[in-house]
């Protein structure tokens, strides 16, 4: 019988562990939610963890544990099914492959979500425009950021456009990027009077954008992007 763990392990973390162990025979606690025992002295605590994972539905073989040295981590601890991976090296290799696949999917999802939010922004702005103003598309701004290149996610096109009053452009809307430190995407807006930074402060993949605007000609104070503020930017 194993030694019971000393703190409550979140159900979601246990479910993820069970799902990954069933799928690829390996699970790394990337979010540090399980109490992994030290791989140096697994013994009763490893059996305690195994009991817990079995109680959550795990039906595979006995578990073993190994620590992988990773950049920015003290060491990533990997739990693996000994019936599926003969050696720790094989288990770590399986984890790396699975990790890269999951990240690729995640990056693809984030890119699609960002393009959807940009299209929604364009639609919203179009709906706010008075009848004498119109939207004119510009060549799209390419999106091919570091994470996309790392996980071989193809380049994407971000919608870029201007707002015109008759024969004169009165605002340019130019996305800058998705992976923005401090925000979930950034768009630059320029008008004849000022320059603005638009940032989405929503959590990644949490639903619709929450756009905040900074007017660079004034003291830094974020404003919510709504119809009134938008028309104000256009001098209406």
């Amino acid at each position: 019988m194993g030694v019971a763990l000393t703190k409550t392990v979140p159900d979601a973390a246990l479910k993820t562990a069970v799902a990954r162990l069933h799928a690829v025979g390996v699970f790394a606690d990337e979010d540090n939610q399980l109490q992994f025992p030290s791989p140096i002295m697994p013994g009763p605590r490893l059996r305690g963890l195994q009991d817990l994972i079995r109680s959550a539905g795990y039906r595979g073989g006995d578990l073993d544990i190994v620590t992988v040295e990773e950049e920015d981590n003290d060491g990533l601890t990997v739990l693996f099914d000994r019936d599926r991976h003969l050696t720790a090296e094989a288990a770590v290799g399986a984890w790396h492959t699975d990790h890269a696949n999951r990240w690729r999917q995640y990056v693809e999802t984030r890119v699609k979500d960002w393009l959807d939010r940009l299209e929604a922004l364009k639609d919203t702005m179009a709906a706010w425009l008075p009848s004498d103003l119109s939207i004119k598309d510009l060549p799209p701004t390419p999106l091919h950021e570091t994470l996309m290149r790392r996980y071989s996610v193809p380049r994407a096109d971000m919608p870029t456009f201007e707002i015109w009053n008759g024969s004169q452009a009165v605002m340019r809307v130019e996305p800058r990027g998705l992976w923005v430190v401090g925000a979930n995407g950034r768009v630059d807006l320029t008008t004849r009077q000022s320059a603005y930074i638009l940032v989405d402060i929503s959590e990644p993949l949490s639903g619709p954008a929450e756009w905040k605007v900074y007017d660079l000609s004034k003291h830094l104070k974020s404003e919510t992007l709504d119809a009134a503020f938008f028309l104000g930017m256009l001098g209406r």
Binding site: D31, N32, Q33, D72, E145, T146, R176, G177, W179, V180, V181, G182, A183, R186, D188, T190, T191, R192, A195, I197, V199, I201, Y214, L216, S217, H219, L220, K221, S222
Partner: protein, 156 residues
């Protein structure tokens, strides 16, 4: 948003320079001065990186002060049995724990606050050690986030 903290003051300085660079593009001055739009974008991005470093160095100072304060609280007037582990961990003024070890004293490693600092610290190292940081930085949001982190520092 809070105005007037050291981080927001630095973000205000950033705003003035970013506005200046953006105006070049906006007013068409760039073309007249022989500057390419792409060059201006790179300059704005480098300015963002410079100000990120500037903000982070001030944040490092806040971490030092907070940990100093905690260690002092834990060792001052404490019995040797209580203070020995703190003194051994903290070392001497010539040899202090590295930055992220000090952050571990301030925040649980499993919490978002810790992970945010870890992420910012990685960016700081990339930029400071000559690496190429290609992702965008939203300086006002970064300043606000760091402001919030500092206000969450424990005192004991």
């Amino acid at each position: 948003m809070m105005i007037g903290t050291v981080f927001m003051d630095i973000a205000e300085e950033w705003r003035n320079i970013d506005r200046f660079l953006m105006n070049y593009e906006r007013l068409g001055i760039a073309d007249q001065a022989g500057l390419e739009t792409e060059t201006l974008k790179i300059q704005r991005s480098r300015n963002d990186q410079a100000y990120f470093l500037y903000i982070f160095t001030r944040f490092e100072k806040c971490v030092d002060e907070a940990v100093d304060h905690i260690v002092q609280n834990r060792t001052q007037d404490a019995d040797w049995a209580e203070r020995r582990i703190w003194q051994a961990w903290y070392g001497t003024s010539r040899r202090r724990p590295e930055f992220m070890r000090k952050v571990e004293i301030l925040f649980d490693k499993n919490r978002n606050n810790f992970k945010t600092i870890q992420y910012y610290h990685k960016i700081r190292n990339e930029i400071a050690h000559g690496g190429e940081w290609t992702e965008q930085l939203a300086i006002p949001q970064v300043a606000e986030a760091i402001d919030s982190l500092v206000s969450d520092f424990p005192t004991t």
